[in-house]
Symmetry: C2
Subunit: 278 residues, 2 copies
């Protein structure tokens, strides 16, 4: 990994790491313009959430782990931002729950598919699905519908982080159990999911993996109990309440977010182009 | 202007126009990676505001117009996102209040300065300041401190949309009256401003211009009354309240924002690369 050389104890470690990975994603042709805008939207929601994993999100992450462990054929879907932000973390989660990893882009180009697959392999993935594209999700336009027949096409549980609403609904209509990671609790993707995880993907994926390791030897009945007791509507309501009532004063300001780009520029010799605007 | 060919009556006109202008900004080297992320943050806050100009924002826009009309030497500061999003609108406002337009970048490069100045000239600007850079804002790092001595350096009232917090504070410390446009009411820039305008710049600038035209022949006493009666803290509190209590269900979802990129791709032949992620 070519990650930043600052200690994890640094108060803005996650934030600097996020910026670094997004920059790297742009350089590698993984992160698109729309991906950068989506990253900004996520930052604003995360800011309103106080940039922390709330108890309801942690519960959702535990339920996600239980679903993945119970699944016959779990698949982790990876798009550009997911690949840029949590490549190694997705590979670790796939190993922890014995899931396939499938690249799945809203607008597919061979070039980006290959760049993302390469990036995942650089981070330890042995098999990357999504390039065969021999299956279809019913109800979607041709290019949007493509999946691997023996990947998402055959999955019973799918983790779809940062997914488009139409596709989230179409996957749900296929009878698949969907775990969605989305910082906007009112998004259609979050509303559609069996397990909506309203959390930053940088925190969510490692925490799902930690829960999966913790639950690895749990009896099937316990996993089924966790799944049955999870309350999706309650989790969404708790997230909305956190956004509504959280102390904005305690959260860092947008300006401080901007100032971090400078810190990154100083911390990271590669980040010369990190802050070229405002 | 090479703007989109869809009618203004289209329900998503502003949104499609925003995406189109951002794309064009990227192509012209005006909008940076950080600018795209900042645009996403703005979209999320605007979504929470219901994507409309609240009464308190309209009052702030009227106070901004009064300040600009009363000023001896008003200057409108333009950075990458401002140039991409409202180039013609900034030129119109400058004409309405007889202000200078000055390009002012957080991280200056000659290339971007020139690209932005050219873009403003393409949209009708006759004189663009910011290239002399023979003045300094005290208290900032060398590159961040640069302004034109006869532009922002000599201004009594400065409109600084989407401005960095450090610079907003440093300009305020110079005794300049600052009008800030920022969708986050808790940002340091908004908190620092004499007139914080918590509104989407695409709506705010034309509305300030409309108020300026309306107030053009008003007696000086009326302008002074508008300025004196404006309550910055009240405006910020109203904006925060709108974010806290607005109906998220009435606002479009993040997913719908994404779907618009598709509509744009269809609506606009130039936007082939509009949505290459997710």
């Amino acid at each position: 990994m070519s990650d930043i050389e600052i200690p994890e104890s640094h108060p803005r470690y996650q934030s600097l790491l996020t910026r670094h990975r997004i920059e790297e994603g742009v350089e590698k042709g993984i992160t698109s313009k729309q991906g950068l805008i989506a990253e900004g939207r996520g930052e604003a929601f995360d800011y309103l959430l106080g940039e922390r994993t709330h108890p309801a999100a942690d519960e959702a992450e535990r339920a996600a782990a239980a679903h993945l462990l119970l699944a016959e054929h779990p698949v982790l879907s990876v798009n550009g931002n997911v690949a840029a932000l949590v490549p190694g973390e997705m590979v670790e989660l796939a190993a922890a729950v014995d899931a396939d990893v499938e690249v799945n882009l809203f607008n597919r180009t061979e070039e980006r598919l290959e760049a993302i697959a390469d990036h995942l392999r650089d981070h330890g993935a042995t098999e990357v699905k999504g390039l065969a594209a021999d299956g279809r999700i019913p109800g979607l336009d041709h290019e949007r519908a493509k999946v691997d027949a023996d990947g998402i096409g055959a999955a019973d549980v799918v983790l779809v982080p940062l997914e488009d609403g139409d596709r989230a609904e179409a996957l749900g209509a296929m009878g698949k159990t969907e775990i969605v990671i989305d910082l906007n609790p009112l998004s259609r993707s979050a509303q559609t999911a069996a397990v909506p995880v309203v959390d930053n993907i940088m925190r969510a994926i490692p925490n799902i993996t930690a829960h999966a390791r913790d639950l690895r030897d749990a009896p099937r009945e316990e996993l089924e109990r966790i799944v049955a007791e999870f309350d999706a509507d309650g989790a969404l309501a708790a997230a909305e309440e956190a956004i509504r009532s959280g102390s904005l004063d305690d959260a860092k300001t947008e300006t401080e977010m901007d100032a971090e780009s400078d810190a990154e520029t100083k911390a990271d010799a590669d980040a010369e182009a990190a802050r070229t605007d405002n």
